[in-house]
């Protein structure tokens, strides 16, 4: 919005303009009245008063010519001084008939332009006091007119001077009033214009806001659309993830079944041995039963019965281990007895173990438990022990150490096998990575071990040195 600077008029400029106009009016009407005064003076004789009128007029002319350079205070003071002087002069010469008294009402108005209202009143009081002083002199009879009053009032120039002074005063007041009214009206117009501009501006801004709002709405709609797309994709991802989980689970199970296949031969042998105990015990007992020779051979009977018991215990332990290993439970909060799981895994593998491998178990003094999936943990130890077994060429040692520190279970499986090269060590947990001949390994064993341990909130670390052996350290949370 533009403001027209040239139209802007502050109150001081307005007052200055009024003062200038007043001086001009003073000048025109003063000159006119001075002309009549001159006629009157020719008729009634020149007085000091009438001569001083010329002097005053001279100052007013000078003041008007240099009106732009002379400050308002000076101009007003000059007018006050001239009026004061003229008043004294006029009252002295004409007493009550002094026409300059008509200027008195205009005095405080001009003073108020350059000073406060209080000061304007003070100046007015001075003028009124002067007027009262002459009134006092006149009423006292001290002031006598030098000419005949009848002659004076019957002279047309007297009336003309009076008229010019009344005119000057009225025009002055009218000018002042009109200037202020005009200025007010201008201000009002300006305010109105500002208000209109403001209204236009507000309407404009409102429209713009509405446009922006529309844009925002459409953006919002787009966002909602995109959100729906994302939601949809998210849903698809969820389904894919579900498929992936199922596939992973199937993979886990099939790897388990693959190891189960390898295990079966060994497990069969492991079960056949205790079955042989039972068979042998049965034959022995039957022999004694047939010969009724129990009492003579009580020591032998004891051995036979014990063999029965050991046979049953061992075979059922193997069957239990096998079923724990192969069970496809999805549960993750089963109570897992680490020692039992290691023992089971070892039992199932024992017959695959090469004859010259010594297995040392250094177990923690008390039983230790973790929370998780019993079957899956069996798979971990079967895979790890099987790897150790395979890594030992002929003769070697596998040491299984279990310890418990704070809230952690640590299981170390240390073998004296051929070890893993640093390059391969980086890849051992990659799915399908294997150094075994085709058909000898799926390449999933350690990858599955790694995933199972992660599922149990555990850590697995494999260190190895070629020719020296491999150490696997598993950390599991203690239940």
């Amino acid at each position: 919005m533009k403001v027209k600077k040239d139209e802007e008029l502050n109150i001081e400029q307005l007052q200055n303009r009024i003062i200038n106009q007043a001086i001009l009016a003073f000048l025109i009407i003063g000159s006119t009245s001075q002309i009549f005064e001159t006629f009157r003076s020719i008729q009634f004789g020149f007085s000091i008063g009438s001569i001083s009128g010329y002097v005053s007029l001279f100052f007013v002319v000078v003041c008007y010519i240099f009106r732009k350079r002379i400050p308002a205070v000076f101009k007003v003071s000059l007018m006050l001084f001239i009026i004061f002087y003229e008043l004294i002069n006029n009252l002295y010469s004409n007493s009550f008939l002094a026409s300059v008294k008509f200027f008195i009402p205009i005095i405080p108005v001009f003073v108020s332009f350059i000073a406060s209202y209080k000061k304007a009143f003070m100046v007015l009081t001075i003028y009124l006091t002067l007027y009262c002083f002459f009134a006092f002199l006149a009423t006292n009879g001290s002031l006598n007119l030098e000419y005949d009053v009848n002659d004076y009032i019957s002279s047309p120039s007297t009336w003309l001077v009076e008229l010019s002074i009344i005119l000057l005063t009225s025009v002055g007041l009218l000018t002042i009033t009109r200037s202020f009214v005009e200025s007010l009206s201008n201000s009002y117009d300006e305010i109105k214009q500002h208000r209109d501009n403001l209204e236009v501006l507000v309407r404009d801004r409102t429209n713009k806001l509405a446009t922006i709002n529309d844009e925002l709405k459409s953006t919002n709609d787009e966002l909602i659309d995109k959100s729906e797309i994302i939601e949809h994709q998210n849903q698809e991802l969820k389904i894919t993830l579900q498929h992936l989980k199922e596939t992973q689970s199937q993979l886990l199970q099939s790897e388990k079944m693959a190891s189960l296949g390898i295990l079966t031969a060994g497990v069969a042998h492991e079960i056949n041995n205790p079955l042989n105990y039972i068979m042998g015990a049965y034959d022995g007992l039957r022999h004694h039963f047939e010969n009724k020779s129990f009492s003579e051979n009580s020591e032998q009977i004891g051995v036979l019965i014990n063999a029965l018991k050991v046979g049953v215990d061992r075979s059922s332990a193997i069957v239990r281990g096998l079923s724990e290993f192969s069970r496809n439970s999805k549960s993750h909060d089963e109570e897992c007895d680490i020692h039992a799981i290691i023992n089971n895994s070892y039992t199932m593998l024992r017959n695959q173990m090469k004859e010259q491998i010594t297995v040392n178990k250094e177990f923690f003094t008390s039983d230790i438990f973790t929370k998780g999936n019993v079957g899956n943990l069996h798979q971990v130890f079967i895979n790890l022990l099987s790897n150790s077994n395979q890594s030992i060429e002929n003769k070697g040692e596998i040491t299984i150490v279990t310890t418990c520190e704070n809230e952690k279970i640590i299981v170390k499986i240390i073998d004296t096998g051929e070890g893993i090269s640093p390059d391969n060590l980086k890849k051992v947990t990659d799915p399908f990575f294997t150094t075994k001949a085709p058909g000898k390994g799926t390449g999933l064993g350690l990858s599955i071990v790694y995933n199972i341990i992660k599922e149990h909130q555990g850590e697995i670390e494999i260190t190895s040195e070629l020719g020296k052996g491999t150490t696997v350290v598993i950390e599991l949370p203690k239940k």
């Binding site: 031969a265 069969a268 042998h269 492991e270 079960i271 056949n272 041995n273 079955l275 042989n276 105990y277 039972i278 068979m279 042998g280 015990a281 034959d283 022995g284 022999h287 032998q300 051995v303 036979l304 014990n306 063999a307 050991v310 046979g311 017959n351 004859e355 010259q356």
Partner: protein, 117 residues
């Protein structure tokens, strides 16, 4: 009474064998191939040797190979929990062993085989 030798690393198997076969035979038993070789040297009149296959140190086949070098005219049997493995098959075909028995074995059958000429 015929002298026979039974080698098995499982103590209960050894004990049961002793109980069940002592009725008809003079039974020598050991827990390893080395022990078996020693017993054979001490008892060269032993007619039949029965051994487990899987044993620490020396397995049944290795033990029979060593024993056969010194005592080629004896009967050698393998008694094992394993099914018929390639190793056993080869040993039978090469005539290294006479027969192979699966655990759990029938005492009657085994006795018959021992008594076969």
């Amino acid at each position: 009474m015929m002298k026979i030798l039974f080698i098995d690393d499982e103590e209960i198997n050894v004990e049961l064998f002793k109980i069940n076969f002592s009725i008809d035979f003079e039974v020598l038993t050991g827990c390893s191939g080395l022990e078996g070789l020693e017993l054979l040297n001490q008892n060269p009149e032993t007619k039949v040797i029965l051994t487990d296959l899987k044993m620490p140190g020396m397995n049944g086949i290795e033990f029979i190979k060593k024993a056969k070098e010194k005592f080629p005219n004896k009967k050698y049997f393998i008694v094992t929990g394993f099914g018929l493995t390639e190793e056993i098959q080869d040993a039978i075909e090469s005539g290294l062993i006479h027969r192979y028995f699966r655990k759990p074995f029938s005492i009657k059958e085994l006795k018959q085989a021992i008594n076969e000429k």
